[in-house]
């Protein structure tokens, strides 16, 4: 006699097979979904130069695998009711709704006579016993889905093998970002250092921190290679403008004179000399101001006058004002007018304080400027270019001389050099072009990076094909008559055409785009 338990036992066995089958089918579908997603994400990442080679590989393997596994597990463990499974299996196994009817009759006998129900169950069980799951529910995947998965895999492989240059560009972009972040931290540290420097006045601190804060703000807002380097160079120049080229000579003169004084023992000016020798003009000024001439004997006064005279002579070339005040004090002391001498010494102390502060300002500005230049160099190096530490502009050691008014070709030191030797100077005389101010731009010094292909920018006529020529303007060197913002569009159009025509090597097209973007008025 047929038992409902036998039928449910068979049904449970089929459901296990059904789960396996669905797991396999959905694994392939999950794989397709994962491959498609990773292809789209990978293409986007590669095209935007944001994905490194390893990251791309991780993406295109982990995402499809995870997706396939998730889909498969979901399909395997997705709840299946007996009745729904019976209906699906009735159709799939061509059981003519026998199993689902038997299940329903067991749950809701309705008005069907018991004998009919028993016969229906027996009929269903007989039909069910002819089913062999491994034969009738084969674990098979659809060929179209398998082909689709294979095609997507091949496309991903093709993308991987053909994106070497873009991976390198992504690596450079990543290095640049890292360098920019590092530089940002250094600037923050520098700002803290300057704000706590006791040798600087508040005004001096403000003058020093203003360009640094502006640079920090720019770096955070626009952390691109070109903009970052431009910002750092600009800030560096502003800081260099705060330096005094003669401050170094004055400091040396003060140290040397201080050393001479410090060697004279039992002298009233020995402490002053020691402070000066140690390079501490502010402390020296305090010593000078605290010197009490009225306590000196006649012999000591004569010795002190002579020493002041000697000190004045040593500082005459670098700080005439201080030297004059020291002379005045020496003469007053020789004449026995200690009050006048004391007053002159106080004035000299004030001058020495000012000189010390100027020296501190110049020193701090120079150090900050140097640090910014080094930072710019590191960013450039991270972007594949050379560091600007070799001082591309021999005039002042900065990368460019914006607004200096020099026309094309006047930067003779750099003219005619092959690309890669030094950054292309930007001394194009924008001040004559109608625009009163403009931001400095970054020009990659070595296209393609240190290990990239070299591009020879030949200066000789007749060599190579001219792929575009901009509008010529009348006038003389350094005296452009057409405003820059009026001709930029034409140059940009020529550039875009050259890129679209394939005249520009693909790996450099983004660099050139960035260059023209940075030139936009």
């Amino acid at each position: 006699m047929a038992s409902f338990h036998d039928l449910t036992h068979l049904l449970n066995h089929w459901i296990h097979w059904l789960r396996l089958k669905r797991g396999l089918i959905w694994a392939v579908r999950g794989l397709i979904l994962g491959l498609t997603s990773s292809l789209l994400l990978g293409l986007w990442g590669v095209w935007q130069a944001r994905l490194l080679q390893l990251e791309f590989l991780t993406l295109v393997t982990a995402l499809p695998f995870t997706s396939a596994l998730t889909a498969s597990l979901l399909a395997v463990f997705w709840p299946i009711s007996h009745l729904k499974a019976a209906r699906a299996l009735d159709l799939e196994l061509r059981l003519d709704e026998r199993i689902s009817t038997a299940l329903e009759l067991n749950q809701h006998p309705q008005n069907i006579p018991a004998e009919i129900r028993q016969k229906q169950l027996a009929d269903a069980l007989t039909a069910a016993q002819t089913i062999q799951p491994h034969r009738d529910l084969p674990l098979r995947i659809r060929p179209s889905e398998a082909l689709l998965a294979l095609a997507l895999t091949l496309i991903l492989a093709a993308v991987y093998t053909r994106s070497e240059a873009l991976f390198q560009a992504a690596q450079q972009a990543r290095d640049v970002q890292k360098a920019i972040t590092q530089e940002t931290k250094q600037i923050e540290a520098l700002l803290k250092q300057l704000e706590t420097d006791p040798t600087l006045s508040e005004e001096q601190k403000k003058a020093l921190t203003a360009p640094l804060e502006a640079a920090l703000n720019n770096l955070e807002q626009n952390p691109s290679l070109e903009s970052s380097v431009s910002t750092l160079v600009s800030a560096s120049e502003k800081l260099e403008a705060l330096t005094n080229p003669q401050a170094g000579a004055a400091a040396q003169a003060l140290q040397k004179a201080g050393s001479d004084l410090a060697r004279q023992e039992n002298s009233a000016l020995q402490a002053l000399g020691q402070q000066l020798a140690q390079g501490n003009p502010l402390a020296a000024a305090a010593e000078l101001a605290n010197l009490d001439l009225s306590q000196l004997s006649q012999a000591e006064a004569a010795q002190t006058a002579a020493q002041l005279e000697q000190l004045a002579q040593a500082l005459q070339a670098t700080n005439p004002q201080l030297a004059g005040q020291l002379k005045q004090a020496a003469q007053a002391l020789q004449n026995g007018d200690t009050a006048a001498a004391q007053q002159a010494l106080n004035q000299a102390a004030q001058s020495l304080t000012q000189a010390g502060q100027q020296q501190a300002l110049s020193q701090a500005a120079g150090q900050a400027a140097k640090q910014l230049q080094q930072g710019a160099g590191q960013i450039v190096a991270a972007g594949g270019g050379q560091t600007p530490g070799a001082s591309p502009n021999p005039q002042n050691g900065s990368m460019s001389a914006a607004g200096s008014g020099l026309g094309p070709g006047q930067s003779a030191e750099n003219g005619g050099q092959a690309a890669g030797d030094a950054p292309i100077p930007q001394n194009n005389g924008a001040g004559d072009g109608g625009a009163t101010t403009y931001e400095q731009i970054y020009a990659p010094s070595l296209l393609g990076g240190p290990d990239g292909p070299q591009v020879g920018l030949s200066s000789g006529s007749g060599e190579g094909e001219i792929i575009g020529q901009g509008p010529l303007t009348p006038g003389q060197d350094g005296q452009s008559l057409v405003p820059y913002d009026q001709v930029f569009g034409q140059y940009e159009q020529l550039n875009n055409q050259a890129i679209e025509n394939g005249d520009i090597p693909f790996e450099f097209s983004q660099v050139i785009r960035n260059y023209f973007d940075s030139l936009k008025p």
Binding site: T101, I112, Q120
Partner: protein, 324 residues
């Protein structure tokens, strides 16, 4: 509990088909549909050009079923009393009284030949009897003996002087069966059988009581809920306003199948399941009877009629499109 087992059911049904097959060559689908209709307790409308054996089929069926058989040839001058019966004045033992004399409708198997030639009045009398299984004459109701089947025929070609059955009356036929031309092999056999010395004759295969029992058994066949839903959806999908309606339905159908069509589908499918040796209805049973159960219940609109659209095409498209 029905008196019949499924094996007996199948055996008798097979015998009926065999006996009919002794006389009727081919037309197995037609015979099957007529048999399903009879076992489901429904009336059948057979449509086909003259000479295809419609009348012969029904006559043979009458022989095989050992039922009281009568034939009514419908003509324009046929009156309701001619088929229902009439009261006549009779003289018995000196007493004169009206006695009811039953018409040809008082039989188990009635052949209404060329039903569309009679007037609507006569058609209505027949169709009322089909629906109620009783007739009323002179304010007196007479019940028709069970089983009662009407097998009507009509000719689709000669439309002049005919009275096409209204849709409401067509709906009372359980199935509408199209009788088509036989193929060459069947035709050859027909020629052999009908032009020789002996004439084939069908033997008795089932009695009226057995038919009634078989009908009872057929009604006990269980139908799974999703199959019932499918039948309901199929029925509703024949209406152009239904969300499951196909393009053909939306374009060419004026009004879809009535609930009576759904009943015919279900009962027909139950009988088909039993004939297939199953105790439950499958989708394929529904598909097997759907054209016969639905084709005369689909009302085409003017465009459908103008383009000569066959309702079978609409039904086939529906069966293909509607998910199980």
């Amino acid at each position: 509990m029905p008196e019949f087992s499924i094996d007996q059911f199948r055996q008798i049904a097979s015998q009926i088909e065999n006996e009919v097959g002794q006389v009727i060559v081919g037309q197995t689908e037609v015979v099957r549909h007529v048999l399903v209709s009879i076992l489901a307790g429904g009336h059948v409308l057979l449509e086909g050009v003259p000479g295809l054996g419609k009348t012969m089929l029904i006559r043979t069926l009458g022989q095989a079923l050992d039922l009281k058989f009568s034939r009514i040839q419908f003509t324009p001058d046929l009156m309701p009393a001619d088929i229902l019966g009439t009261e006549i004045l009779s003289d018995q033992d000196g007493r004169r009284e009206f006695r009811f004399r039953p018409g040809p409708l008082f039989a188990n198997l009635v052949l209404a030949d060329e039903i569309n030639r009679a007037t609507p009045k006569t058609q209505s009398a027949l169709l009322e009897a089909m629906q109620e299984a009783s007739v009323t004459v002179a304010q007196k109701t007479y019940h028709l003996e069970e089983p009662f089947f009407v097998l009507a025929t009509q000719n689709p070609l000669e439309m002049e002087g005919t009275y096409p059955l209204p849709e409401a009356q067509l709906d009372r036929f359980f199935f509408k069966v199209n009788v088509t031309l036989p193929d060459v092999a069947d035709m050859v056999q027909i020629l052999e059988r009908t032009t020789g010395q002996s004439t084939a004759c069908a033997g008795r295969a089932a009695s009226g009581a057995e038919i009634v029992s078989m009908r009872a058994l057929a009604r006990t066949v269980p139908v799974a809920s999703h199959v019932k839903e499918y039948i309901a959806k199929l029925m509703l999908a024949t209406h152009p306003t239904d969300s499951n309606a196909t393009a053909l339905v939306k374009q060419y159908v004026r009004y879809g199948v009535s609930p009576r069509g759904g009943q015919a589908l279900m009962l027909g499918a139950k009988v088909t399941a039993l004939l297939a040796g199953r105790y439950n209805v499958a989708f394929e049973d529904v598909h097997a009877v759907a054209p016969a159960a639905l084709r005369h219940r689909l009302l085409l609109n003017f465009d459908g009629l103008a383009e000569g659209l066959n309702p079978d095409k609409v039904i086939a498209e529906l069966l293909k499109a509607l998910p199980h």
